[in-house]
C-alpha cells in the first residue's frame, strides 16, 4: 500500500452528510437555477470576461511559487517524448560541471539591472506549458496532454492584493480569500495571513529580503522544507532542489537573490549538467538537472537556460526510464506593470 493509499484509507470511514443536508443542498441549487442569479465578474483589466477555465483554489499564495532570474525569453514546447530524454548527464557529482555552470549563470543573473519596483505594482509572467500524466486513476490511464497558455499578474508586495490568472483565455481572480459566486472576495475569512509571503508563496518583496549567501540561503530553504518532520526519511537535497525550482518557475527574482539561488543549487549534491535540452517551445538550451524518486519512479527535473544569455528559459521533468516528459514549460515574458490585467509594452523585455 503506497503512502497516498494509506492516507486515503486512514480517513475511512468518512463522516456522511447530516440527515437532510444533501437534499437541502440540492434544493438550494435548484432554487438558484430557477432564480438564475446574475453573475458579476470582477472588473479586471477592462477586458471582456472570457469563458472557460478553472476556478482558483486556495489562494494567491498557493498559486505561485516560481521565480526566475530576470528578463524574458520565449519558449515553446516541442517533443513530448524526447528520445532518451536528452543528452547524457555530463557530471554525476555536485561541484563539477553543473556547479561551474550554475556559477556562470549566477554571475549573469547578478549582472542584470535591479528593477525599481513600487509596492503597488504587479509582476506579469507569460508562459507556455505542457503536461501529461502517467498516473492511473479509476482503472484508466490519464495520459491526456494538457497545454496551458498562462498569464499571471501577482502583487510584488502583498499576497492579499487580488491578482489575475488567464489560463487558455479563462480569467480567474487570484486571492487568498474565498471568492463567492458573484465574484465578491470575502475578506472576513479568518486565518488568512497577508504580507510579503514566505518561501512557498513568495512575493518579489519577500524574495528581496532573502540572504545573498548561498549557504545560508540553502540552509534556510532546507530548514523551511524539513521543519517539524524529523528528518532522516526526507531527502532534503531533493526537496531543496525542487523548492529552488519552484522559486524559478513563475516569478521575477531580484538579481542578487537569483544569483544566490543558483549558487545554492550548485551546493546540492547530485546536480548534473545537460548540454542540449529543449524547452516546451522547442528552444534548446543548456540545463542543470537532478534525479528525484517519486511514487517508485525516477524522474529528472531540469532547469533550462539560454546558451547565449544564460537566462532561465524553462524547465522540464521527465521519467528517466521511459523518457516521457511529464511537464515542460517556457517563459515567454516577464515584466512589472502597474495593475493586474495590464500588459507590458511590446518593447519592454525586462
Amino acid at each position: 500500500m503506497d503512502d497516498l493509499t494509506t492516507l486515503r484509507e486512514a480517513w475511512e470511514p468518512v463522516d456522511p452528510p447530516a440527515p437532510g443536508r444533501q437534499t437541502a443542498a440540492r434544493m438550494a441549487l435548484l432554487q438558484a437555477a430557477s432564480a438564475e442569479l446574475p453573475i458579476r465578474e470582477l472588473p479586471l483589466a477592462g477586458q471582456p470576461p472570457a469563458r472557460g477555465g478553472w476556478r482558483r483554489g486556495t489562494g494567491y499564495g498557493a498559486l505561485i511559487a516560481g521565480a526566475a532570474a530576470a528578463a524574458v525569453t520565449a519558449v515553446v514546447l516541442v517533443a513530448f517524448h524526447p528520445a532518451g530524454a536528452g543528452s547524457r548527464p555530463a557530471a554525476r557529482h555536485a561541484g563539477t560541471p553543473a556547479a561551474r555552470l550554475l556559477a556562470k549563470i549566477a554571475t549573469a543573473a547578478a549582472a542584470q539591472p535591479a528593477a525599481r519596483v513600487r509596492d503597488s505594482e504587479f509582476e506579469y509572467i507569460k508562459s507556455y506549458a505542457i503536461s501529461t500524466s502517467d498516473v492511473i486513476k479509476g482503472g484508466h490511464e490519464k495520459a491526456a496532454l494538457r497545454k496551458d497558455r498562462r498569464q499571471v499578474w501577482q502583487s510584488v508586495s502583498d499576497t492579499c492584493r487580488t491578482g489575475l490568472l488567464i489560463d487558455n483565455g479563462s480569467r480567474t481572480p487570484l486571492s487568498p480569500y474565498p471568492v463567492s459566486a458573484t465574484g465578491k472576495i470575502d475578506k472576513s475569512s479568518p486565518g488568512i495571513i497577508c504580507g510579503k509571503g514566505n518561501l512557498s508563496s513568495p512575493t518579489y518583496r519577500m524574495l528581496q529580503s532573502l540572504p545573498a549567501s548561498p549557504r545560508i540561503l540553502l540552509n534556510r530553504i532546507m530548514a523551511a522544507e524539513g521543519a517539524g518532520h524529523g528528518g532522516k526519511a526526507i531527502d532534503k537535497n531533493s526537496v531543496a532542489f525542487g523548492a529552488i525550482g519552484d522559486l524559478l518557475r513563475e516569478q521575477i527574482v531580484p538579481p542578487r537573490v537569483s544569483a544566490a539561488l543558483y549558487r545554492a543549487a550548485g551546493l546540492i549534491p547530485g546536480v548534473t549538467l545537460l548540454t542540449d535540452q529543449p524547452t516546451a517551445t522547442g528552444q534548446r538550451g543548456i540545463a542543470v538537472g537532478r534525479e528525484i524518486m517519486s511514487g517508485g519512479q525516477k524522474y529528472m527535473h531540469e532547469w533550462i537556460f539560454s546558451k547565449s544569455t544564460l537566462q532561465y528559459i524553462g524547465e522540464r521533468d521527465f521519467n528517466v526510464r521511459t523518457g516521457a516528459v511529464n511537464t515542460a514549460s517556457a517563459i515567454l515574458r516577464r515584466s512589472f506593470v502597474s495593475h493586474a490585467g495590464q500588459y507590458p509594452p511590446a518593447s519592454n523585455h525586462s
Partner: protein, 191 residues
C-alpha cells in the same frame, strides 16, 4: 434522494455536456450535483469533519452553478474545476482544519497504543496510522497540503490538482513530491 457519486459512463453525457446544457437549462446542473456531491462531501469531510463539510459542499455547488458559464467545455471532466472551488471554500476554514488534524493526531496515538495494540504488533493498518499522518498534515505548508489532498483524497492527478488550484503543473508536481516525502517520513517513523 439517492446521490450518484461517480464519473459518467460512456452512455451518459460528459460533465462538459451537462454544464453546457445548463447554460440554457439551468436546472440541468443538478445532474452534476448528483454525480459529484458525494465525492466533494467526502473530500471536505476528510479535511473539516462532517458538519463543516455539509456547508462547504453546498456552497461549492452554488458557486459552481453561478460560475458555470466560465467552465471550459473543452475539458470533459468537471472534477478538477469542482475540487478547485471546494479547496477555495475549505480555505475559509483553515484554522478549523489544522485544529482537526491536531486533534486527530492525539486521538490517533491513543488508538495505536490501546484499541489497536494487536495490530501494532503485527502490521499497523491504515486507520491506526491516522494519528501520525494527521500530525504530518498539520505540519505541511498549506500550499503543499492542498495539492497532496487533491491527489490523495479527491483522486486527481497532480496536473489536475495544478489546474484546480491555478498553479503550473510543475509547481503542483513539486509540491506533491515535497508533501509525499513528509508523509512517507511520518509513516516510516510510525512503523
Amino acid at each position: 434522494m439517492a446521490a450518484v457519486t461517480r464519473a459518467p459512463t460512456a452512455l451518459e453525457s460528459s460533465d462538459a455536456a451537462v454544464i453546457e446544457r445548463s447554460w440554457r437549462e439551468p436546472e440541468c446542473f443538478a445532474d452534476l450535483f448528483d454525480r459529484y456531491y458525494g465525492q466533494v462531501h467526502r473530500f471536505a469531510a476528510r479535511r473539516l469533519g462532517g458538519s463543516l463539510a455539509d456547508d462547504v459542499t453546498a456552497e461549492t455547488f452554488l458557486v459552481a452553478f453561478a460560475r458555470r458559464q466560465q467552465f471550459d467545455i473543452s475539458r470533459p471532466d468537471a472534477r478538477p474545476w469542482l475540487f478547485g472551488i471546494a479547496s477555495n471554500m475549505v480555505a475559509r476554514h483553515h484554522r478549523a482544519e489544522i485544529r482537526r488534524y491536531r486533534m486527530l493526531s492525539r486521538a490517533g496515538l491513543a488508538e495505536v497504543s490501546e484499541g489497536h495494540a494487536d495490530q501494532v504488533v503485527a502490521r499497523l493498518d491504515a486507520r491506526a496510522l491516522r494519528g501520525p499522518l494527521a500530525a504530518a498534515l498539520a505540519g505541511i505548508s498549506e500550499a503543499d497540503r492542498d495539492v497532496l489532498l487533491l491527489v490523495a483524497w479527491a483522486e486527481l492527478t497532480s496536473e489536475e490538482a495544478g489546474a484546480a488550484l491555478g498553479i503550473p503543473a510543475g509547481t503542483a508536481r513539486s509540491r506533491l513530491h515535497r508533501a509525499r516525502k513528509k508523509i512517507q517520513a511520518a509513516l516510516a517513523q510510525a512503523r
